[in-house]
C-alpha cells in the first residue's frame, strides 16, 4: 500500500527531475501553498521559475475536532509552479499521476472547469479541478493576476491534495486511516493536533488579542515596506491573513467587518506585490536566463516517451513517418 510519505517522495522526485527547485514549507500559518512567497511573489514579473514543495495549509474554519473523516483544519498540499507554463504542462501532470502509481487506463481522469480566485491576494486564475473517478484530487490553475498585477509570463500552478490522493490510492474510508508510513496512521500522527486546533480556533482563541495582533501586524507590514523590506512585509501580511481566518472561525467577524478586513489584507498583498516587482527590477531580474528554469531538457528528463512529438504539421512536412491514421485510432 502506498503511504503518504511515499507519495511526497515520489512527487518530489518527479518534479525535481523536471527542473523544479525543491523548496520547503513556509514556516508560517497559511491557508494554501499559493501564499508561500515562492508562489505568490515568484509568479510576478518576467523571471522564469520552477518550484515544488509541501505546504501544510491551515483553514481554522474547516476544523472538525478530528471527527469528520474528510475534513481537516490543517491539511497538506503539494504545490508545483511552472513559469512560464510549458506547452506540455497537462502531459507532465498526467505523467506525475503515473509516477505515483495511478493506472489511467482503468481510472477516469477529468478536467472540470474551476476558476480560482483569492480576493485577499488580489489574485485569480483560470483552470480546472481535476477529478479522479469523481473525486477532486488536484487544482490546476493558470495564474492570470496576482497582487492586482497582470501576469506575463503566465504560471501554471498544480496543487495536489495529498490526504485525498493517499486516501484514493489506499482505498481508505477516513483521512485518519491513511498510512503516513507503514505501521503508523495519519490519525496517530495528527489526530490530537486536529482536536486541539479545532478547540482553540473555535472556542479558546482570544478575540481581542487576535484583533490587536491583526492591527499590529498590519502596521508592521507597512513599516517594513517603508524600510524597503519586501519579504518581511509580506510575512506580516500573511500573519494578518491567518489572524483574519482565526477571527472568522471564532465567529468574531460580522458581515460588514468581513469586507473591511479582507480589503485591509488585500491592500497589504497588493502593496507587497508591487514592491516585490520593483525590488527585482532594481536587481536586474537576476533569474532571467537562469539555466535551471530555462533548460528544455529538464522537461524531458526521465520521460518514458521514445520520440518527441512532431510539431504541428506544416506544408513542408505532411506527416511522413507519423502514426498512420489507423494506428491513431487503435486502442
Amino acid at each position: 500500500m502506498q503511504t503518504l510519505q511515499d507519495l511526497i517522495l515520489r512527487l518530489s522526485e518527479f518534479w525535481a527531475r523536471r527542473g523544479c527547485v525543491l523548496q520547503q514549507p513556509l514556516d508560517l500559518e497559511v491557508g494554501a501553498g499559493t501564499m508561500h512567497p515562492d508562489t505568490f511573489l515568484r509568479v510576478l514579473g518576467p523571471e522564469p521559475w520552477r518550484v515544488a514543495y509541501v505546504q501544510p495549509s491551515r483553514r481554522p474554519a474547516d476544523g472538525r475536532y478530528g471527527d469528520n473523516p474528510f475534513r481537516l483544519g490543517k491539511h497538506l498540499q503539494f504545490q508545483v509552479i511552472l513559469k512560464p507554463s510549458p506547452a506540455d504542462v497537462q502531459r507532465l501532470y498526467v505523467q506525475s499521476l503515473a509516477a505515483i502509481g495511478l493506472d489511467l487506463a482503468v481510472h477516469d481522469l477529468r478536467f472540470e472547469e474551476d476558476n480560482w480566485e483569492a480576493p485577499t491576494l488580489g489574485a485569480w486564475g483560470v483552470g480546472w479541478q481535476v477529478m479522479l473517478d469523481g473525486m477532486e484530487i488536484t487544482q490546476f490553475t493558470y495564474f492570470q493576476q496576482a497582487g492586482g498585477l497582470e501576469l506575463r509570463p503566465v504560471s501554471a500552478e498544480i496543487t495536489y491534495g495529498l490526504e485525498r490522493l493517499t486516501m484514493f490510492l489506499g482505498l481508505s474510508r477516513s483521512i485518519y486511516e491513511v498510512a503516513w508510513v507503514d505501521g503508523l496512521s495519519y490519525g496517530q500522527v495528527r489526530h490530537q493536533e486536529e482536536v486541539e486546533l479545532s478547540r482553540y480556533y473555535f472556542e479558546v482563541a482570544d478575540v481581542a488579542f487576535a484583533q490587536q495582533q491583526f492591527d499590529g501586524m498590519e502596521r508592521e507590514s507597512v513599516r517594513c515596506l517603508d524600510a524597503g523590506l519586501v519579504l518581511p512585509a509580506y510575512e506580516c501580511a500573511l500573519k494578518c491573513s491567518h489572524l483574519f481566518n482565526v477571527l472568522d472561525a471564532r465567529g468574531a467577524v460580522s458581515v460588514t467587518e468581513r469586507v473591511g478586513l479582507m480589503k485591509r489584507v488585500r491592500d497589504l498583498a497588493v502593496a507587497c506585490a508591487r514592491a516585490y516587482v520593483e525590488s527585482r527590477e532594481r536587481l536586474g531580474f537576476p533569474l532571467l536566463g537562469a539555466p535551471a528554469a530555462a533548460a528544455p531538457g529538464a522537461q524531458a528528463a526521465g520521460a518514458p516517451s521514445a520520440a518527441p512529438p512532431e510539431p504541428p504539421g506544416s506544408p513542408e512536412s505532411p506527416g511522413e513517418g507519423a502514426a498512420p491514421p489507423d494506428a491513431a485510432a487503435a486502442p
Binding site: A87, R152, P153, G313, P315, G319, A329
Partner: protein, 264 residues
Amino acid sequence: MARGEYLLEVRSEEIPARMLAAGVHELATRVFEELMARGLRASEIETGFTPRRLLVRLSGLQEREPDREEQVMGPPVRAAYAGDGSPTPALLGFARRCGVEPEQLLRVATEKGEYLAAARRTAGRPTATVLSELVPRILAAISWPKTMRWGAGEGPWVRPVHGLVSLLDGEVVPFELFGVAAGFLALDGRHDECRAIRPHGKRHQAFERLRVEPGEVRDRNRLRDVRRIQVVPAHPGAQILQWRGRCGATQCLRCARCMSRLGS
C-alpha cells in the same frame, strides 16, 4: 472525395462543458457567413466537439470567389474637358491611374452633377486564400464567456491551443494562431504517444474519430458530450440553412429559439 470540402479542427486543453456547444456553433456560423458575404456558399456544414476538440466541416465550396466589378469615381465632367472639347490633364491623369484608355471612361450621374468613372474588374481570390485570412481571425474572436492567457502570454482564448488542422480538399490552408501553425496533423499536448490524426482522406473520418479515438472519448459521460449536427439545404421559413441534430430535431442556423435549444 467531395470537392470544395474544408475541414477545420482545433485541439486545445479541456474547454468548459458549458461553453462547447455555443463555441463551435459560433465558429461554424461565422465562417459560413463570412464566406457567404464573399460569394462563397457551402452546401453543407457539419460540426462536432469533445472537451479537447472543435471540428467544423464545410462542403460544396467553390474554387474561388466570383470576380467583382466596381466603379472608381473620377473628376467631374465639367473639369474633364477644356473649352475646345479636348481632354484636360485631370481626365488623362485619372485614366492613367485606372489603367484604361480615355475613351473607355464612363459618365455617371450623381447628386453633385455628372462625373467620370472607370470600371474596374477584380478577379476573385482562391477560396484557400480567403480561408487562410478568415479562419484565424474568426477563431481568435470567438466570444467565450471567459478567456485566459498562457505561456509567455499567448491568447486570449478559452484554453491553451495545441493543434490546428486546416484542409481544403486535402491541401493545407496555412495560417498561424497563438504560435501554432495549421497543418495536416493536430497534436493535443497531452499523451505520451504521438496521437496525431490525419483527417484527410475519407470524408467523415475526422468525425468518426470523435467516437473511436482511444483516450479521447472513453466513458459514457464523455460520449454524451459529443454532438453531431448536420446541415441540410434551406427550406421555406428557415433562415439560410437548417441544422439537423443526431436526435432528429431540426434547428435553424440563426434562429434565437433554436440557438437556445442548441446550448441546452
